[in-house]
Amino acid sequence: MTDRNIIELRGVEKRYGTFLAASGIDLDLKEGEFFSLLGPSGCGKTTVLRMIAGFQEPTAGTVLIDGQDMEGVPANNRPTNMVFQSYAIFPHLNVGNNVAYGLRGKAPKGEIDQRVAEALDMVELGGLQDRGASELSGGQRQRVALARALIMRPKVLLLDEPLSALDKKLREQMQFEMRNLQQSLGITFVMVTHDQYEAMTMSDRIGVMFNGRLKQVDTPTTLYARPCDQQVASFIGEMNILPAQLLGEIGNMLSIDAAAFGRIEIERNPNVATSSKDMNIGIRPEQLEIAAEKPEDYPSTVQGTVSNAAFYGENIHYHIRVAGAEKPISVSVPNYFHTVDFKRGDAVWLGLQGASVIDLGTDTK
């Protein structure tokens, strides 16, 4: 990744009649970055991607690619290529001709054949040039789509939900492969996804979108630890959100009274504003200690009852009813040596460290 901006969006807006599909989008993407646009369906992330690709024109604002204003530049003249959600493999062409599609008439045949072979090797489909489009599996189609776009040597590769059509195992494998490919090529990837895990495992940075607005742009770790509001907090991973009272602040630390968990010192989240005494905090399910006996070394402990238990294999999820909290608290415990096993109705203790608590400020959305 370099410091050079390859894509700059300035106040980009897309309006359909009275409906704002995207508005006020300001975004700088670095050369060689893997960037994900993450959000629920209908949040406008695909619209943003398609405005970069040139399939849709913004109703306001500017799209710059490599410093060039893209206004009026049709999709076929932009230095971007796209991997479509459906993969859009041409059914009347075999694998080799699909991959060669964009080069036909632009390079001599010998060079095309060589580049097709290289591109297919790159996506581990070497030698499958003559395979018909209808004889491909879902994963192979995805690879062909990738090779067909990458052979064009785009400045930016756009990926519209590239993995959503694959089954879970293949999806996880492709996540790593695509990440490796992106890093070895050094091309900027912009991926649209609604899958937070996909976004987190693959991206250098993630932009979270809700209702046509870009809510937060950060690295996966920052998004996870310092979300800018409740919406982002609960979209990225699971989150217990609890009301709390602000008691006082010293420098970077806040002293709060959290429902059920009592008085606790937490770190201030620079991404949120705290303008009144009433605020919210977030606790990740895996950040809570659960034990049969009252745990020591925890500044805050609370007793509760198991209302639900779900076994996930690598970890176990519990719902714990606690006096003073409206909703049960979610707790996730690694299935460490298979020693944790609480049943519904068991009385348990929860332990909490101040460092595990996320300050969500006073927003009340």
Partner: protein, 285 residues
């Protein structure tokens, strides 16, 4: 139990269609073949098998001439109709908002009888017809044009109009099936709209074009109403000759022979066409 087996259920379901085809297509065809080997002796039939009808028919320059002209006219009708139908189908499939209404509008000519439509063309193209009157009123011509009616042109025009919906519908269906993201992918890979049409849309609609061509070509070769009404002597086709054999000439065996020769010619042309069109489609990359 036997009624529950997959196969017997299939036979049961297809029985009416099989019976229909058997009695109304296969049986008459067999009778036709039988006739073609017999000889007409005034009012009776000589049922001694002979190939004389075939040798007579193939040796007759009139038969050859009419057969070639029929294929030529049907080919022209096919080309004209498909060329006119493609843009309409494209518009409905790709651009139109209310597709159902457009498709309904296209079928409107069928709400009136075919004969009426042919007579309407006679009124339009005739010596004192709509076209000539209008052109004369506008002062574009001094006397009526006489090349509008009673020739090949009139036959092609009338048939192209009559068959247009049969070309529009299969092409529309094949256009409708194209995944829009394929077109976006072509654009994304650098194609201009025209390149995209030639490299994606057209090859993907070849099955629809082939279907449209066959649907039009095969029946028009054997059409006899249109050439009889608007074709004049220049526009006569093979079916007019066949009709004469079964009617005025009262030579059913020769009529049957001519029918079979026409069928085989049409079949041959159709097969060559399908193979060529498919191969051409495969060449597009």
């Amino acid at each position: 139990m036997i009624f529950r087996s997959e196969a017997s259920r299939g036979y049961t379901l297809s029985a009416p269609a099989t019976a229909y085809v058997g009695f109304l297509v296969a049986a008459p065809l067999l009778i036709l073949i039988a006739y073609s080997f017999w000889t007409q002796t005034y009012v009776t039939l000589d049922k001694t098998p002979t190939l004389k009808n075939y040798s007579d028919a193939l040796a007759d320059p009139l038969v050859r001439h009419l057969m070639l002209r029929s294929i030529w006219i049907a080919g022209a009708v096919t080309v004209v109709t498909v060329a006119l139908a493609y843009p309409i189908a494209y518009f409905i499939a790709m651009k139109a908002r209310k597709k159902t209404i457009w498709l309904l509008l296209i079928t409107i000519p069928f709400w009136s009888s075919y004969l009426l439509r042919v007579f309407a063309w006679k009124l339009i193209l005739g010596f004192n017809g709509v076209m000539n009157s209008a052109l004369m009123m506008l002062g574009l011509i001094d006397e009526p044009l006489d090349f509008l009616l009673y020739n090949e042109f009139a036959v092609v025009l009338t048939l192209a109009h009559a068959w247009a919906p049969f070309a529009i519908l299969p092409i529309y269906v094949s256009l409708q099936k194209i995944d829009p993201s394929l077109l976006e992918a072509a654009t994304d890979l650098g194609n201009s709209p025209l390149q995209r049409f030639m490299r994606v849309t057209l090859p993907l609609t070849i099955p629809g074009i082939i279907a449209a061509c066959l649907i039009i070509f095969i029946p028009t070769v054997g059409d006899y109403v249109t050439p009889a009404l608007v074709g004049g002597s220049d526009g006569k086709m093979i079916a007019n000759l066949i009709q004469v054999q079964f009617g005025a000439a009262n030579n059913w065996p020769l009529g049957a022979t001519l029918s079979l020769i026409a069928m085989l010619s049409v079949g041959f042309v159709a097969i060559v066409f399908v193979i060529t069109a498919t191969q051409l489609g495969r060449r597009i990359r």
